[in-house]
Symmetry: C2
Subunit: 382 residues, 2 copies
C-alpha cells in the first residue's frame, strides 16, 4: 500500500533529469579521456532564495540515489534521508533549498556503465571509463551551476557521500561555505578494500556477469550481486546491533537443522541480498566501489593549498560502533584539516548501530547537524 506523507514531510516529489554534458562538450575525466553525453538525475526540496545563498547539497552513499526525501507516486517508503530533510527537520526545507543528485557511475537516472554507449547503442559495460572522486564532484558542480547557484551554503554526505564532500571542499572551497563529512574516510584501509574486492569478485565471477555485457545477453548477475550485498551489509551493522536484533534466534520456518535458512539472521541477510537486486546495478557496484578504493586526497601534497587560502567550515562526524569507517578514519580527516588551519568541529556520536547510523534519526546526531546548519545560515544572513 502506498505510504502517506506525514507532517514534516516534503510531500510528493519526483526526479528530474538534466543533460549537463554532450558528445560535443563532454565531461573531461580525471584519468584522461572524456564522457558525453552525461545526464544527471536530481531532486530538490524547498525554495532557493533570490540571493541563491541557502542551497544545501546532499551527497548519497554507495547505493543511494537522487530520491533523498519525500514520496514518489505510489511509493511504499519515502526517500533515503527523509528523517533528516523536511519542514522543521535539521535540513529544514522551510529555510534551505536541498539538492540531491544521483552520482554518475550510478544506476538511478544518471549516466553510468549500464547506460547506452553512443558508439554502439548497447550498454557501456566495462567500456565505461573508470571514474575517480573528482569526476563525481565535477558533475555535481555542473548541476549546481545549472541551478543558478555559485556557492553552496553546505555540502553534506555520509560514507561515500562524505568522501565526496571532502574532495569537493578541498578542491573548490570558494564554492562551499560549510562541509559535513559523516562516517567517511580519507583513505580506505586494506581491510576496507578487501571487503569490496571480494564483493566485486562475487559479481564478476558470476557466469551471468558476461564480462559486463549482461544486459545485451538478457541476463543479470543476480547471484554475485546478492552475495556482494549480503557481505557488505554485515559490515554496515555493528556486531552488537546484529546481536540485539537477531542473536541466535532460529528462523520460525526452520524445520530441522540443515543448510537453508536456519537462523533469523540468515533470513534477514537473504532478504537484503534479494531486494537489492531490484534497485541496484552490478556494474555501478564495481565502478563506485572502485572510486572509494582509490580515494586518497591527502596523498596529494597540494591537497590543502586551496583551503589554506579559502577556509571551509568543516563538521566531521563518526559513530562509536562504526567498524567500516570508524572514528579513527574521522580523526585522521580532522587532524589533517586542523593542520591546514581549517575550522573543524568533530563529534563522535554514541550509537550502537554501526556504519548505517548515518541514515538513522539518532537524536544527538540530528541535533548536531541541525545546530551546525543553523549557524551556517546565520553566518550568511548576519
Amino acid at each position: 500500500m502506498p505510504g502517506t506523507p506525514e507532517a514534516g514531510s516534503v510531500g510528493k516529489v519526483h526526479t528530474q533529469t538534466v543533460r549537463l554534458y554532450t558528445a560535443e562538450s563532454p565531461l573531461q575525466l580525471e584519468q584522461g579521456g572524456s564522457l558525453g553525453p552525461v545526464d544527471v538525475a536530481y531532486e530538490t526540496y524547498g525554495t532557493l532564495t533570490p540571493a541563491a545563498d541557502n542551497a544545501v547539497f546532499v551527497c548519497h552513499a554507495l547505493t543511494g540515489d537522487a530520491h533523498a526525501a519525500g514520496w514518489h507516486d505510489g511509493a511504499t517508503r519515502p526517500g533515503w534521508w527523509d528523517n533528516l530533510i523536511g519542514p522543521g527537520k535539521p535540513l529544514d526545507t522551510d529555510r534551505f533549498l536541498v539538492i540531491s543528485a544521483n552520482l554518475i557511475g550510478g544506476c538511478q537516472g544518471s549516466t553510468g556503465p549500464s547506460s547506452p554507449n553512443p558508439e554502439t547503442g548497447s550498454a557501456f559495460g566495462l567500456d565505461f571509463p573508470v571514474l575517480m572522486m573528482r569526476d563525481l564532484v565535477e558533475v555535481h558542480r555542473a548541476l549546481v551551476k545549472h541551478l543558478g547557484i555559485s556557492r553552496l551554503l553546505a555540502v553534506i554526505g555520509g560514507s561515500l557521500g562524505g568522501m565526496q564532500v571532502l574532495q569537493w571542499g578541498l578542491d573548490h572551497p570558494e564554492e562551499v561555505a560549510n562541509a559535513v563529512v559523516i562516517a567517511a574516510s580519507s583513505r580506505l584501509t586494506a581491510q576496507n578494500i578487501a571487503f569490496s574486492a571480494v564483493a566485486r569478485r562475487a559479481i564478476m565471477t558470476d557466469p551471468n556477469f558476461a564480462a559486463g555485457d549482461y544486459a545485451a545477453a538478457g541476463v543479470n548477475p543476480d547471484i554475485g550481486l546478492s552475495i556482494a550485498r549480503m557481505m557488505a551489509h554485515i559490515t554496515y551493522l555493528s556486531e552488537d546491533a546484529l546481536t540485539e536484533k537477531f542473536g541466535r534466534q532460529v528462523d520460525p520456518n526452520r524445520r530441522q537443522p540443515g543448510f537453508g535458512i536456519d537462523f533469523a539472521v540468515e533470513s534477514y541477510l537473504a532478504h537484503q541480498g534479494q531486494v537489492f537486486l531490484e534497485r541496484f546495478d552490478a556494474l555501478s557496484y564495481l565502478y563506485l566501489t572502485r572510486v572509494m578504493d582509490y580515494f586518497d586526497p591527502f596523498a596529494d601534497p597540494k591537497a590543502l593549498d586551496a583551503v589554506r587560502f579559502s577556509p571551509v567550515n568543516w563538521l566531521v562526524l563518526s559513530f562509536a560502533s562504526d567498524w567500516r569507517f570508524g572514528t579513527d578514519h574521522s580523526r585522521r580527516i580532522v587532524r589533517t584539516l586542523e593542520r591546514a588551519g581549517q575550522p573543524v568541529s568533530f563529534r563522535e556520536i554514541p550509537s550502537t548501530y554501526g556504519h548505517d547510523s548515518f541514515l538513522l534519526a539518532i537524536e544527538p546526531y540530528h541535533e548536531t547537524l541541525g545546530a551546525f546548519l543553523d549557524r551556517a545560515l546565520a553566518g550568511v544572513t548576519a
Copy 2:
C-alpha cells in the same frame, strides 16, 4: 622443492586411516540416525608411555586436517601446527604422545559428505547427515580408545578445535585431565553466523554446486568456494595486520585503474581463494560451519553437571586483536566454568595478527602453553 625437516621437527610422518564404525556398528548421531562406516585419518607424534598417561589430543580448526606436524613425503611445507609440536617445543614429542585427527565431516581422509554413500556408491552430497559438535567428539573419543588410551593428559585446539575441546571436557571430564581452549567461543554471535551464512550461500548458489552432487556431475563449485574463503580470510586477520602487510600498496602488475587486481591486498585474497580449492571441499565447508553455528553447550542446563563432579584443569586463551572470536567470547567461557567451580586459567595474549594468531609462534602464547603442559605432566608423574 620439497622442504627439509629442521632441528625440532618430528621429521617425516604419514597419515593413517582407521575404520572406527561400520555399517553394522555405526556411529549414533546427536540429531538421531546413524552413520557407518566411519573412517578417521590421524597422525601421531612421540611415544605413548606404558601407563598411557602422556597423550595430548590436538583438535584442528575449520579447514585443518590430521597433518599437524612434521613433513609428508615431497611436501613443501610442514603440518599446520609444526611450530608447536616437536622435540623441545611446547608440545614436546620427547615427552608427549601427540594425536591429531581429521574431523568427520571433513575432507582429508575422514568420512565426510564427499565420501561415497554406501547406499548409492556416489558421494553423499547433502544426504550426509547434519553433524553436531558431540558427533565430532564421539568419533575422536573412539579413536583415543582405539589407541589404547583411557584418559587424555590434555586436549587442545583453536577456533572450531577449541570449541570441540570445550564440548569434550564438559561431557567427558573423566577422560580429559586438562583442556586448552584457544581463540574459541561457547556460542557464535549473529555476526559470526552471518559471515558463515554468506560463505555457504556463495557455495550453494554456484551453479556448479549442483545441489551438492557436483562430484557426480564432474564439476566443482570453485567460484563459490573461493569467494567463501576470501571473505572468511578477511575475518581471520586483524585490520591492523592487513594494514601492516598491504596498506594501500598497488599490485606491481597493475597497469591502470580497473576491475582486476589493482591493490596488493586483492592479489593476496585472490591467491588465498585459489589455493584453498586444492585442499578443501565445498560440502565439508557447509557441514563444519554449521557445527559451529549450532554449538551452544551452555544452553543445556545440565552442561556443567559432569565437570562439577569431576573437574578438568582448563586453560582458556584469547588474542587481543581477534575480532572473530575475541576476548569477550573467551571471558564468557571462563566465567561460566568458574561458576561451576572449575580450575580455569585465562590469558589474553597480546598479538596484532587477529584470529589466525592461534597458528603462529607468538612467544608469550607458546610459553603459556608449554608451562601449562609441563604442569599437566608434573601432575600425572607427581
